[in-house]
């Protein structure tokens, strides 16, 4: 399996339209400018590239309760059993 943290940062970089500069663990989720399309795409990429299944409903933004990119990385690691 790819390194989850670097793979996820790459995925975020590709899909976060509001992002300026490089994303880090400290980058705020609110600053990523992620819209409803991008949420679906990010999760698809995570599933494809990291080989895990993310349980979520597209009408509920799974990022809503996360503050930073670090929270997202930790959540994905947990799903993959690497936390």
């Amino acid at each position: 399996m790819a390194d989850i943290e670097s793979a996820l940062l790459e995925i975020i970089k590709e899909n976060a339209v509001g992002l300026t500069g490089e994303p880090t663990r400290e980058t705020s989720i609110a600053d990523l400018g992620i819209d409803s399309f991008a949420v679906v795409e990010i999760i698809y990429e995570v599933e494809e590239k990291l080989g895990i299944e993310v349980p979520f409903n597209a009408n509920e933004n799974p990022l809503a309760n996360m503050k930073s990119v670090g929270d997202l990385i930790d959540a994905v690691k947990k799903l993959s059993g690497q936390a």
């Binding site: 339209v17 399309f37 679906v40 795409e41 999760i43 599933e47 494809e48």
Partner: protein
Amino acid sequence: MNGKGRRVVVTGLGAVCATGANVDEFWANGIAATCGTQTRTIRANDGTQITTPVAQVDGFAERAASLGRDIGRADAFSKFAAAAADEAVADSGIDFDNGLGGRTATIIGTGIGGQSSLEDGYINMLSLDKRPHPLTILRLIPNAAASHLSIRFGLRGPAFAISSACASGAHSIGVAADLIRAGTSDAAIAGASEAIITKGALQAWKAMHILSDELCRPFSKNRKGLIIGEGAGILVLEEYEHARARGAKIYAEIVGFGMNSDGKDMINPAVEGAADAMRMALGGVQVPSAENIYINAHGTGTLMNDPTETKAIRSVFGADADDLVVSSTKAMHGHLLGAAGGVESIMAIKAIQSDIVPPTINYDVPDPECDLDIVPNEARNRRVDLAISNSFAFGGLNAVVAFGRV
């Protein structure tokens, strides 16, 4: 909301298809008798392919990439619609702020919708053992183009797709005009888009034995069928007083709209249905002298359509049918299916604006069954006061839009 006496005019035009990346190019090629069809090999992403004549849009990728992130993730049919709508809106100079957006309809037809998204999804699943992309549904739904345009321009009036095969575009323009006439809306973005030049779709069309294997030759005795095209034709429609009050450039008025169904057969067209739809479109119209009437025919170049349409035109116009002119521009831009009524309405409107009638190209053998003046092979200078766009779809669905000089 009193719809009484409200008139509808066309104030913006946008087109993209094999014979033009915009309206100016499309019209210049139209009067230059440019043939946009070519035999090409179309490949699917599993490596299979089909070789057949098509009228494909070239060099669109860069423009599509410039249409923004939302449209960038959409199906090709939404991309064509956005490109044509951007042109039409810019052309009209209309401003949807200050409340007009809430009173503007978005009616964008398509025969199929997101064909390539559907096909890619199936090939991924069935041949490549991959999952479909998560946006597959949002890409392929036939209302995707209408939804994208309503979001793109902030339009909050009625928005939907009309899907009536090859009559989708004419239905969309006619219904949008009716919405304005009725007072439901004050303006509309109306037209249609189609993008089905894919391996699977062409294979299915080929299975119907209705595609030409060389050129498309409408009304010619040696016609062998239609050639599939792609693209979009979009109009900005406005209530007449609204357009006048803002000093808009007015191309033409939508003076009539007729729609009905044959109620007979999925494939074979009926003379009476087509004729009645034309009569309906001309119902309240002050019909000028036949010398000043142009009909942009459905003219698919199939064995059945062209003589049926000829008889229908004769039935409606009687002896005048020999004095008016008819042409099928499909031999140039291909059959855009759902979007045919969109780009062909633009041909009709430009004929009024320019007093030039675009030709029926690839015509070489007269057919006594198709004996109207079909403006063979070369455009003709001629005053046009009334231009009619015919669309007769598989399934017996007829839609006819009549445009008049303002």
